[in-house]
């Protein structure tokens, strides 16, 4: 009897051990799954090659964090860098931008007529569309005419509401002459950045915003699209072998869905990551990684003040007081985790060759702010989007403004609601983050000039005049003088308080791929958005 009980006890013990082992192996199996980068890649690509470190023979495949940014053609991608950059890999432009200037791309070279209103572009003769058709001047002519009727998502061809191209004609198969309505310092860059469409596909399309039929992503760029999965935000672009220009640097680029980018990068599921300042030290210590620090000059946080609905804000002293009272260095230390650049109150970023350093800098000075307010107190509502970063920044602004006697109530809403309020002017103070500060400073005309809709209830005669004049001034020294004066007036008037621009860190494994171009002359923000990051440069 006794031995029998013992026997049962032993069997139960064994069973428990077996179950325990089974559970253990299941758990280990699960952990193993997440650590194997090849598997997650395979689901989307169906291509097992290229996961391991690249060798000379093995084709390199770059993987990046994906999100759905629409069908990557000029009419269907979403606005913003991620969408535009995918379309530019598929579609070529006449010119491309490198670290310093516009460089020849689809156009081998170009000529300008004397008064700068007409450009002649000489195209590469052996350029092909992804479907094998040759690319000719006819396609370029068609593109400029088509965009007039059907503006693309990222439209550089209108100024105000006018279409800047008056005439396009093909001189021969590979020469195009484009005539513009007037001279402007930025127009060459603008027509140079237009995505060229294949005539044989789009000439039959009446509504490009709904067209997703055959050839909807056929371009002439260095990569062609193989897979687009909107649900997962996954894309796969493969190298276009008959490409005429600088050769594609990798066999394929894949955008894969990831939940945590840092984790995915550590597991080698993606090849580029933008960690926050706190996480950078993890990578700096290791030789396996390269860490690049890129200041995002192109954009800045701004504090908008609505002078249309809040008459008190029309007083320049109050606006100046706000600018002095906001502690921008503290915002950088706490929100930017110590990295960031205080923005110039004259709007043009300090990295630009057009930047005027001789303007009021508005260093943090609550005493001066109090003196400007002369004991008056105010009460405003500050509208912000509900992201953690913005609400925290709003909180800091509230604390600093409270100190000088400006009582602030923070209201946080969806970012779309905030954008709508910005557009319609239904706010008192508003915190926003916007770009558009890279490249040619003609952007001052759009923001502070006569037709501006950005700043509500503010206008300045001299600013309007200068903004108009600098756009058509061809002498660089004169233009610089005008732009310097513009910045000075803007800084003195403080139509909006410029806060700070962020700094982005990029980390990648050079052994896998190191062709990233970190800075483009128009100070775009992300190396994975530049076309030149994906081609072999001499």
């Amino acid at each position: 009897m006794k031995s029998e009980t013992k026997g049962t006890a032993v069997t139960i013990g064994k069973n428990v051990a077996v179950i325990f082992l089974l559970l253990l192996s299941m758990i280990l199996g699960l952990v193993g799954c997440t650590n194997r980068p090849s598997e997650s890649g395979e689901i989307i690509s169906g291509d097992a090659a290229g996961n391991e470190n690249a060798t000379a023979e093995e084709p390199v495949i770059i993987r990046l964090a994906g999100e759905d940014v629409g069908l990557p053609n000029p009419f269907r991608h979403t606005a913003g860098g991620a969408g535009v950059s995918k379309a530019t890999l598929l579609y070529d432009t006449l010119l491309e931008k490198d670290e310093n200037q516009d460089i020849p791309w689809l156009a081998k070279r170009w000529e300008m007529n004397e008064d700068g209103t007409s450009f002649t572009f000489f195209l590469h003769e052996n350029a092909l569309w992804h479907d094998g058709e040759p690319l000719t001047a006819e396609d370029v002519v068609f593109t400029f005419n088509y965009y007039k009727e059907h503006p693309p998502v990222s439209n550089s061809l209108t100024d105000g509401k006018k279409y800047i191209v008056t005439d396009t004609k093909a001189i021969d198969d590979h020469t195009v002459e484009i005539t513009l309505n007037s001279y402007n310092n930025t127009y060459l860059s603008k027509i140079g950045s237009v995505l060229i469409l294949p005539k044989h596909i789009w000439e039959n399309v009446d509504d490009p915003t709904t067209f997703d039929g055959n050839g909807a992503t056929v371009g002439s760029g260095p990569y062609k699209m193989e897979i687009y999965n909107p649900e997962q935000g996954a894309y796969r672009f493969v190298a276009f072998e008959q490409y005429y220009g600088l050769q594609p640097a990798v066999a394929a680029i894949e955008w894969v869905p990831v939940s945590d980018e840092v984790l995915a990068f550590d597991n080698e599921e993606i090849d580029l990551v933008m960690p926050t300042a706190d996480l950078v030290s993890r990578y700096k210590e290791s030789d396996e990684y390269i860490v690049e620090e890129v200041p995002a000059y192109r954009n800045s946080y701004r504090l908008m003040m609505n002078m249309e609905t809040v008459p008190e804000l029309c007083a320049v002293d109050l606006r100046k007081a706000i600018a002095y009272a906001v502690n921008r260095q503290e915002i950088i230390e706490k929100i930017g985790r110590g990295v960031g650049l205080i923005s110039s109150m004259g709007y043009v970023p300090s990295s630009s060759p057009w930047y005027n350093s001789d303007i009021e800098q508005y260093d943090y000075n609550p005493e001066k702010a109090k003196a400007l307010l002369e004991g008056r107190t105010y009460s405003f509502t500050l509208l912000t989007d509900n992201s953690a970063k913005s609400t925290k920044m709003a909180e800091l602004i509230k604390i600093s403004l409270d100190e000088v006697g400006i009582d602030v109530t923070v209201e946080s809403v969806e970012s779309k609601a905030r954008d709508n309020a910005l557009k319609t002017g239904t706010y008192e103070l508003l915190l926003t983050h916007a770009g558009g500060m890279g490249g040619d400073p003609d952007y001052l005309r759009g923001i502070y000039g006569e037709k501006s809709t950005t700043i509500k209830g503010w206008s300045n005669e001299r600013v309007n005049e200068l903004a108009k004049a600098q756009a058509i001034e061809r002498d660089e020294t004169n233009r610089k003088e005008m732009l310097f004066e513009l910045q000075k007036i803007i800084a003195d008037e403080v139509p909006m308080v410029m806060l700070y621009s962020t700094v982005t860190y990029f980390v990648y494994r050079p052994e896998k791929y190191d062709g990233w171009m970190m800075i483009r002359y128009d100070h775009n923000q992300r190396c994975d958005f530049y076309k030149l990051s994906y081609v072999v440069r001499n």
Binding site: E333, N386, A388, T391
Partner: protein, 293 residues
């Protein structure tokens, strides 16, 4: 003298509680912790002023002498935020539970006493409220009413009155059959008399337990709603602290989570647990002796 019995009954409850030993060990710990939270909440409001709002140190300082629980990314002391959060939580818990408990049981008594279409209507709404998935509705209502403490209390009340209502109705229904009610009625007692003299004293113990339960539910709901970003973003409730810390990108790759995430989480769990212990003890207590109360 009409309210004599009710008063006597209310007076009796602290009398019962005066003997601390009726609580179990868990109940005692819970009771002490809740008391501590109430006290710290009051202290924070009375003596600590703006400490939960104004930065007093560098960003993300580790716990030390000056900041016992460290600071958050804005440099605000986390202990001060948690103490203030305790006040917010207890405020929300107390007011929403009271409102839901009193409102719900009043409706329950009405439904049980009047019967007919009143009963059908109230119980119908009750059923609907119970069937609707609470969290999604809470999020929708929270987003609809906009972020503020008052609205959060309102949302919680709307979603929690149905339970006390059902309990009160069931109790009143069974009481109606009792001899003394029938006798009182035959002497011409009206609804008011019956409610004050008989129904309320009768349902008070079970409603009390249900209110305590609601407190813990409301605290959780408040933390949940503010965590999801439906609260006032600049208020310092525990949910907001948690939301801020968890949304700090890459927090688990750093040490910050050890004080920034763990502290609000720990007090939240402890408080909810403590209230549950008290509720359990009270339930046992009233279950056994409720009839005599």
């Amino acid at each position: 003298m009409k309210y004599a019995k009710l008063l006597k009954c209310i007076r009796k409850i602290p009398g019962k509680l005066r003997n601390f030993n009726i609580f179990s060990a868990y109940g005692k710990i819970g009771f002490v912790f809740v008391l501590l939270m109430v006290l710290t909440g009051i202290i924070s409001v009375l003596f600590m002023g703006e400490a939960h709002k104004i930065p007093s140190g560098a960003s993300l300082e580790a716990p030390g002498l000056i900041h016992p629980l460290g600071t958050d990314d804005l440099g605000i002391d986390i202990l001060a935020q948690i103490l203030h959060g305790a006040f917010v939580s207890i405020q929300v818990g107390f007011f929403s539970a009271m409102l839901a408990g009193i409102g719900g049981s009043t409706l329950g008594i009405l439904a049980g006493y009047c019967g007919g279409w009143t009963d059908k209507l109230i119980m119908g709404i009750c059923d609907v409220m119970m069937v609707i998935p609470q969290l999604p509705l809470m999020i929708v209502l929270g987003a609809f009413f906009g972020p503020s403490l008052r609205n959060i209390i309102l949302v919680i009340v709307i979603l929690s009155w149905s339970r006390p209502a059902r309990i009160a109705r069931a109790r009143v229904l069974s009481m109606r059959q009792e001899g003394y009610i029938i006798a009182a009625k035959s002497y011409g007692a009206g609804f008011r008399h019956l409610a004050v003299k008989h129904f309320i004293p009768g349902i008070l113990p079970i409603i009390l337990v249900s209110i305590i339960r609601l407190i813990s539910k409301a605290i959780r709901a408040e933390a949940g709603l503010t965590f999801l970003g439906l609260g006032d973003p600049t208020s310092k409730s525990w949910g907001v602290i948690l939301n801020r810390s968890i949304n700090f990108s890459g927090i688990y790759y750093t040490d910050y989570w050890k004080w920034w995430v763990m502290s609000p989480l720990t007090v939240l769990i402890l408080l909810v647990l403590s209230i549950s212990f008290i509720a359990r003890d009270m339930e046992l207590l009233f279950h056994n002796k409720g009839d005599k109360l």
